[in-house]
């Protein structure tokens, strides 16, 4: 029984159905429970919140990631699924408090100084929320000093920096340096992304990771998070 409902949650995450009114891939899905109703049903059956996350939501999102990489899924599909997970997490959060469940990390994201492009950063934020992280989005065109202050005050485990322009990617290096100068560099893992950025560039400025796209960013955060946990 528990397995059935977790499987349904997974399938509805894949289809991006938040409520019973949402359309699905096949005819006749509308009217059947969506992710939020299924979560309530699962909780009513006393299924553990952590179990719902691990075997329902996260599994579903993993399959969405695979489909995106295989070009069967496109950005709107991916966003719908991530939003379904976000809605589910809102319901589950109160049930996680007081359990042994270890909350995932906090991540601050920002598009660096001089750069107004925020679509990529926003997609990464949605997917990270979908993966269970707490995300604080500072916005775009953010001063290096503002980012350093936010790291000092919020004490996130991760900092995600984005830039779309060749002329602004250098400001990512400034942020890394400023965090060193402030004595905060070893307190936070830095991941970067954006059209002109590469793995080599990430290494060259001393960042901890690089995400080629939204799911790539989640993957690198997950692997750094797991490495830290062990």
């Amino acid at each position: 029984m528990a397995e059935d409902i977790l499987k349904l949650i997974q399938e509805n995450v894949i289809q991006g159905r938040i409520t019973k009114d949402d359309e699905g891939f096949e005819e006749g899905m509308s009217g059947q429970p969506g992710v939020t109703e299924l979560i309530e049903m699962a909780l009513a059956q006393n299924i553990n919140a952590q179990d719902i996350i691990n075997n329902g939501l996260t599994k579903g999102m993993e399959i969405v990631g695979e489909k995106f990489e295989a070009k069967q899924y496109f950005i709107p599909d991916m966003l719908a699924s991530a939003q379904a997970v976000g809605a589910a997490m809102d319901i589950l959060e109160p049930h996680l408090a007081g359990t042994a469940a270890k909350a995932k990390g906090k991540i601050i994201v920002a598009t660096v100084k001089g750069d107004l492009h925020d679509i990529g950063k926003n997609i990464v934020s949605i997917l990270l929320r979908g993966a269970g992280y707490t995300v604080k989005d500072l916005g775009n065109d953010i001063d290096t000093s503002t980012i350093v202050e936010a790291v000092r005050e919020e004490k996130p485990q991760f900092l995600g920096l984005s830039a779309l322009l060749i002329s602004t990617m250098a400001n990512m290096a400034d942020v890394v340096q400023a965090l060193k100068d402030a004595g905060l560099r070893d307190k936070v893992k830095i991941i970067i992304g954006g059209a002109p950025v590469s793995e080599e560039f990430a290494k060259s400025i001393g960042a901890d990771g690089y995400g080629a796209d939204g799911f790539g960013a989640v993957r690198v955060v997950e692997s750094l998070f797991n490495a830290d946990a062990t």
Binding site: K71, H117, D118, I119, I123, L165, I166
Partner: protein, 270 residues
């Protein structure tokens, strides 16, 4: 519709490399192909931040001279660095020229506006200020108002201003197609003398079969008053949509342009 050929742009890696090694044949070929395909302007963008400003200035001088040597088509100088625009304007001998671009940020208006006014250039103006691309029609129009007030104060005529309504991907927000179209409509209603221009490819970011989406959007934008498009004219299906839209909105008397093109070198793609 006025067509600005977008291909000579250093944000494309192949083009950036060709410019870096001063590959004359490559730039000449790209210029001629766009001109022959029906481009009215040839856009040139040497990138920013890839080298020192001195290197960028040498690059823009070389590109402007190289393009100019093989075509009579006017140039669109694509940069937001006043120093680079200035050198490009000085190097370029043609009378008609477009500068791409300013936005409502006072700093950019005050540095690039006077260059355009002095040269009587056409000037692309992005409907945004310093806070990024607004997601509503109202805020984009506020930026246009600021821009036009500032530019006319410098002696420019509204006819010289090409407003870019800006395009955000429909894959991220399904209302964004309408935001762009309504912005074009409103700009044309408020400032009938001013022009509108937009790039074609942003709308389809994150979707499959992007070119079909771009072409359909172009057709809709033409209907609400788009005067110019920044695109790759080497795509014959896109250029066919351009000519068909001109005809369908009454810009092609007796359908002469369409029929002539269909019979001549610029074959309409079925």
């Amino acid at each position: 519709m006025l067509i600005i050929g977008e291909c000579i742009n250093a944000s494309n890696r192949t083009v950036a490399e060709a410019i870096a090694r001063r590959d004359r044949e490559f730039i000449e070929g790209m210029t001629k192909a766009q001109a022959e395909a029906g481009a009215d302007f040839i856009d040139v963008n040497v990138g920013a931040g890839q080298g020192t400003q001195g290197q960028e200035i040498e690059a823009i001088e070389w590109v402007v001279k190289t393009v100019q040597a093989v075509t009579d088509k006017p140039l669109a100088i694509d940069s937001d660095v006043p120093g680079i625009i200035e050198v490009a304007l000085r190097t370029y001998g043609g009378e008609t020229v477009m500068i791409n671009s300013v936005n409502a940020e006072p700093e950019r208006l005050e540095s690039i506006g006077p260059l355009a006014a002095k040269r009587k250039a056409l000037l692309v103006a992005l409907a945004m200020g310093s806070e990024g691309i607004p997601d509503t029609v109202e805020r984009r129009l506020e930026a246009c108002e600021k821009i036009l007030t500032s530019l006319t104060g410098m002696g420019m005529a509204a006819e010289q201003v090409y407003f870019d309504p800006l395009v955000l991907p429909i894959s991220v927000d399904s209302k964004q197609g309408l935001v762009t179209l309504k912005t074009i409509e409103q700009i044309k209603a408020r400032y009938p003398a001013a022009k509108t221009i937009m790039g074609l490819s942003n709308i389809s970011f994150g979707l499959p079969s992007r070119k079909s989406v771009n072409r359909a959007f172009l057709l809709m934008a033409a209907y609400v008053g788009l005067d110019a498009a920044i695109l790759d004219p080497r795509d014959d299906k896109t250029m066919s949509v351009v000519r068909i839209s001109d005809m369908l909105i009454g810009k092609d008397a007796l359908c002469k342009g369409y029929i002539k093109d269909d019979m001549n070198a610029l074959k309409i793609a079925e």
